[in-house]
Amino acid sequence: MEPVRILGICCNWSPFVCYNAAGMTGLNMPSNFRLIRVMCIGRINQALILRAFEFGADGVILLECKDEDCRYGPGPEVGHENVNRVRKLLHLLGISQERLVERTFGAHEKVALVQTVWKFAVEIDALGPLKKRSDGKPVRTTM
């Protein structure tokens, strides 16, 4: 069976500090985990999360700063709102809501971040790959 594909959308500040520190200390990440680094989770909208699934992600995790740590103000709150809305759309589409999660981290929580991603990877692996088109491809592979 094809391995599942996991996408992390990571805020440049606290979570990426964790991710970077984890890499420096040699903590491994799951091999099927891909990371997109953005300046703030508030930059991510409903469409971008949906598009990750459209392009073949089997699970998406938003790695965010703590609400009070946001460099710009409302970033994590925008994240919570978008995750809530997209989860409702995923439910309509019959896609398990557990495939989209958000987690917040302080800048010192590198171990917690790595553990969270591993836990998520195990959960998505248990759910298996999302149903793809009849030719086995994700709905879309190019812009």
């Binding site: 909208n45 409903q46 469409a47 971008l48 949906l50 598009r51 699934f53 459209e54 809305r85 409702k88 759309l89 439910h91 309509l92 589409l93 019959g94 999302l130 149903k131 793809k132 088109r133 009849s134 709905v139 879309r140 190019t142 812009m143």
Partner: protein
């Protein structure tokens, strides 16, 4: 641009018949809202200056497809079909273009619905207010209503109530429709944004869903879904043998038989004609006839109404921009100028686009603020059995 298919389109869509009279451009809502946009010049460039690729491509994607140019053209140039086929061709050769509103979220979920084994949870809203059947030959097509309801919750557009109210009306006609748990979007917005491959996939999957459920007739309230199911699907799915009925047509026909009436509604109302319903499907009299049955309601027409109605500003969720907003403001001002306090429409898209502008804090506030309701909801709230 050397594609021979363009030469064929020029012939098929009667572009050579263009007189360059300019009525199309003079009535184009894009042009009237100040945008440098000209259907006349597009026709000219396609015929005579095809090397100006940038102009042609931009124009093809910029069109709102409201059909006003085709309506006004004295030569019968079929602009709508020209834009539709050009978009399909350009998307195939150069990729999908056009700015997709809401960053393409709507088109994304429509494409995700092309997954064959999809098991949706699209009927959570069904409750005891409506009577539906588990099986039968008549289905009601709710389309994207459950999805829009979630996506546009932020602007408080309630598209589920349109579906519910349509079914309440059907119940009064003694019809308990089947609701299909795995019907998909009709694909209208994918078709008009050039994504023919996924549009056709949706058509085939929907047809299979209808057939597997033993459906022989589909009742539709949305004009876009109706147009796709009745006019486009038979061309894509061979052996398409399902009767497609527009709720407005059915109501007109059934209410004539008597036995049903409406409670009085003391409101002054006007009607926003949806482009698909009125210009493309020629149903301008239906909604007016139905509203005429509501006692004590004063019905007033806007300055531009019926087949000459102004566009709601956007179609297929592509290229919504400041000019779209201007069209919407102009339309809402026309509605306000009638003195009406209720704007009735018959397409969820008109409702979404106009509500979006009303709720825009940077816009004209009270000057354009108005209650918008769907025709099905207005009728369902007042319908009753009569002697």
């Amino acid at each position: 641009m050397n594609d021979p298919r363009i030469d064929q389109m020029i012939v098929d869509m009667s572009l050579y018949q263009c007189l360059e009279c300019g009525k199309c451009t003079a009535s184009c809502p894009r042009r009237l809202s100040g945008k440098e946009y000209s259907p006349r010049l597009l026709a000219h460039k396609v015929i005579a200056e095809r090397e100006d690729e940038a102009y042609i491509e931009n124009s093809v994607w910029e069109c709102l497809t409201c059909g006003m140019c085709r309506e006004r053209c004295p030569s019968g140039v079929d602009f709508n079909r020209f834009i539709l086929e050009m978009r399909a061709m350009l998307a195939e050769t150069k990729g999908l273009k056009g700015y997709r509103a809401h960053d393409g979220a709507i088109h994304s979920w429509m494409r995700m619905m092309t997954t064959p084994g999809l098991k949706q949870n699209r009927l959570d809203w069904v409750d005891s207010d409506i009577q539906v059947a588990r099986s039968g030959e008549v289905a009601f097509f709710a389309g994207c209503a459950p999805y829009f309801d979630v996506f546009f919750a932020g602007i408080e557009v309630d598209t589920i109530s349109i579906a519910k109210d349509s079914i309440r009306l059907l119940n009064f006609l003694d019809i308990k429709p089947v609701l299909l748990p795995d019907e998909r979007c009709c694909g209208h917005d994918l078709l008009w944004s050039g994504d023919v491959e996924n549009f056709e996939a949706l058509c085939r999957l929907n047809f299979k869903t209808f057939k597997d459920a033993g459906i022989r007739e589909i009742i539709v309230s949305c004009p876009e879904c109706y147009q796709v199911l009745s006019e486009h699907m038979p061309g894509i799915v061979s052996g398409f043998d399902i009767k497609v009925t527009l709720l407005i047509d059915l109501l007109q026909q059934e209410l004539k038989k008597g036995g049903l009436a409406f409670r009085p509604l003391k409101r002054k109302a006007t009607f926003q004609d949806p482009c698909r319903l009125v210009r493309m499907l020629d149903r301008s009299s239906g909604p007016r006839e139905l509203l005429g049955l509501v006692p004590e309601m004063t019905f007033v027409e806007m300055e531009n109404s019926g087949r000459g109605a102004l566009c709601c500003g956007n179609c297929g969720f592509i290229n919504c921009d400041a000019y779209s907003k201007q069209i919407q403001v102009a339309r809402l001002k026309e509605a306000k100028a009638t003195g009406a306090d209720l704007l009735i429409t018959a397409c969820p898209k008109c409702m979404i686009h106009l509500t979006c502008t009303i709720r825009d804090r940077m816009r004209h506030g009270k000057k354009i603020k108005m209650e918008i309701r769907d025709l099905a909801s207005v009728l369902a709230d007042g319908i009753e059995y009569s002697g």
